[in-house]
């Protein structure tokens, strides 16, 4: 069976740290930066667990600010 591997790129300056992508991710890939903030003071989202990403784009879909770009490969 082909394995699917994804990756998420967050536009961290555009991100407002709303956490909707974190909740939408079925694989618990994303988290908000616990301490670091962007220029506007938001704890932006990042891939905490990149190996688990399946490139489903759920995070991108729910992101209100269009901060998320998703890539996917079949191995």
């Amino acid at each position: 069976m082909a394995k699917i591997k994804g990756a998420v790129v967050v536009n961290k300056e555009r991100c407002k740290g709303c956490e909707l992508c974190v909740v939408a991710c079925p694989s618990q890939v994303l988290a908000l930066q616990p301490t670091e903030v962007n220029d506007r003071g938001y704890h932006y989202a990042f891939m905490q667990n990149p190996d688990a990403c399946i490139g489903c784009a759920s995070c991108g879909l729910v992101c209100p600010d269009g901060c998320i770009t998703v890539y996917k490969v079949k191995l």
């Binding site: 591997k5 269009g66 890539y71 490969v73």
Partner: protein, 255 residues
């Protein structure tokens, strides 16, 4: 099997990104606001239908007053509630254009009720995107016609009392009964599945408009986490638990 992330992040592997027609202006919406998701869907639908040069959007008064800053099409900014009247003229004077309004519940369901119902009744070939979050966001969280019974806002601080303020107004049910509408649906954008359905609904509404079938209304039951005084995640849960009971999702009319 381990794979370097840079092996994945390549143009040929792209599966999702910000819509081409959504520009880089940072949106003024609060974190987690539903408006941004709906903006993306509209931008995607316009792009996928190949009608960006033919589309004219009518922006409301309310939080989405600045919608014109984010989607790269021509826009007209309406007076509060008057978007359907403006769209009526734009479409009748330019029958081949795609004309849509984007309105919140204060704009559409309070001050603009007459314009909404009469545009629907004339069967104007426009699409109305209706964001229903049960509150006035821009002015600071006052009661809307759609505010739920018992729901607290800054102008019903002890909860909406129907004896004082009347009942939550179900606009989709109203315009469904009006002969000029061809498609009335109620959607949401709180999960990936809901977002995919909402996008299909917006696409159908736009296609109806271009086909001259009459007025389409896509109501999006939405959150206003700032106005509701909740986190974005909690607001989505609260919407599922409370809003959907009064505003059930699904097609009300599709002829």
């Amino acid at each position: 099997m381990h794979m370097d992330i840079n092996e994945i992040i390549k143009p040929e592997n792209l599966v999702y990104t910000k819509p081409r027609l959504m520009n880089d202006n940072p949106m003024h919406y609060c974190p987690g606001c539903s408006h941004g998701v709906v903006h993306k869907l509209i931008a995607e639908v316009i792009d996928e239908m190949g009608i960006e040069e033919e589309t004219i959007g009518i922006a409301p008064v309310g939080c989405a007053v600045f919608a014109y800053n984010y989607i790269d099409i021509d826009w007209i900014e309406a007076a509060h509630g008057r978007a359907p009247a403006i769209a009526t003229a734009v479409k009748r004077l330019n029958p081949k254009k795609m004309v849509f309004t984007y309105q919140g519940d204060g704009d559409l369901a309070a001050i603009g009720t007459a314009e909404t119902i009469h545009a629907c009744n004339r069967g104007e070939n426009i699409a109305i995107i209706f964001i229903n979050n049960g509150i006035y966001g821009m002015t600071g969280g006052q009661m809307a016609p759609t505010t739920l019974e018992g729901m607290k806002t800054s102008t019903c601080p002890y909860g909406r009392n129907v004896a004082l303020n009347g009942y939550p107004l179900r606009i989709a049910e109203l315009v469904e009964r009006v002969d000029g509408t061809c498609y009335v649906t109620r959607q949401s954008v709180h999960t990936p599945a809901a977002i995919r359905k909402a996008k299909k609904a917006i696409r159908l509404a736009f296609e109806n408009s271009m086909a001259g079938k009459g007025t389409s209304m896509v109501e999006i039951v939405s959150t206003c986490n700032s106005g509701w005084k909740m986190s974005p995640v909690k607001a989505n849960q609260w919407m599922e638990e409370h809003m959907f009971a009064k505003y059930p999702l699904g097609d009300l009319k599709n002829v």
